[in-house]
Amino acid sequence: MAIAAESKFHVLAVDDSLIDRKLIEKLLKTSYQVTTVDSGSKALEFLGLHGDDEQSNATNPPSVSPNNHQEVEVNLIITDYCMPGMTGYDLLKKVKESSSLRNIPVVIMSSENVPSRITRCLEEGAEEFFLKPVQLSDLNRLIPYMMKTKVKNQEQEHQESQHEVEDTESQSQALQPSEHQQPQSTSNQQQQQQSLTQPQQQHHHHQQQVSDNKRKVVEEGLSPDRTRPRYNGIATVS
């Protein structure tokens, strides 16, 4: 079960493969609320973007606050790379170019281990790159990203109400930025990990069993301002 919050984290999973959608949904449902779609364009539709226009529909006037157009709260987008029409990369770009959506962390999945592809996605703003088939143990790495969005969304909501109404209470809410660091700390991770300790054991078990299980690629020469460690304990691929 998810941590004791008002609502579970909501993940939008995008994949044109029926099998992989079923799998990722089952994987994610253990801890999160999941929506699956089979294309990038459907993903954008779900997120409230239509075509190249950022206005979700004609009745909404152009607004100053960027979060108004998001119809549903999505805490993370996980998308396949190779899809007909709009690729996962195209979707990533569109999300990052949108002022209302750019804060949503995006994770790319691919069955192919292509270093240049991985770099391109990370440089475009993807948080992680997972090799398929995605496993339960991979999902642990999503936790910090989702917590960050949730906190950020709460912050923005409070800041907006602060702009509308002079409210001294919201000023104390603005102190929440210190909680930003919490997702990185062990206490929150432990809460999540309680429901996920079993898969972690499996991960180690598999590492022992399968020597050629290539999960991730280590890329040298990533942009230096990425201080967050991205690849923990990953084998290089020859």
Binding site: I19, L27, S111
Partner: protein, 154 residues
């Protein structure tokens, strides 16, 4: 007593699928996702796989019948097929997919056709084995220990 024997046999059957290289650790991942809420998850996914990939097989077959082979198209179909096969842990099938894709890359039509024949063989062999496995597994779930089906148990 009978139940223990049955479960041992089932475990051995299952293990042989791994030992003989039909399945890899991804199948175990599927098993780990199976729970009381989804007691037939693995079988559901496998059934979905065979239904979904039948379409791809048909498309590939049609392509291979053409006089001028479109290797890009073939590779694209096979990429999808390989992906699904990988997702259920179909090890031998996946290997054949890779081989086929190599032939596509080198524009080797003969190679494609040969490896496709082999792929279809592996594909249907696995299907039969998994169907049998699920059937027997269900027998164990449904029937009580001292069942008259003991003669049925392999």
């Amino acid at each position: 007593m009978e139940r223990n024997h049955f479960h041992r046999q089932l475990a051995l059957t299952r293990q042989s699928l791994f030992d003989q290289g039909f399945l890899d650790e991804q199948f175990i991942q599927l098993e780990e996702l199976q729970d009381d809420a989804n007691p037939n998850f693995v079988e559901e996914v496998v059934t979905l796989y065979y239904r979904d990939s039948a379409r791809l097989i048909h498309n590939i077959e049609q392509e291979l019948e053409k006089s001028n082979l479109d290797f890009n198209k073939l590779d694209s179909y096979m990429h999808q097929f390989k992906g699904s096969s990988s997702s259920i842990g179909a090890k031998k099938v996946k290997a054949e997919c890779s081989l086929f894709r190599e032939y596509c890359r080198t524009g080797n039509g003969e190679g494609c056709m040969r490896s496709f024949q082999q792929l279809k063989k592996e594909y249907s062999t696995l299907k039969k084995k998994l169907e049998a496995y699920f059937q027997v597994e269900q027998v164990g779930q449904v029937h009580p220990p001292h069942s008259k089906l003991k003669s049925f148990v392999v």
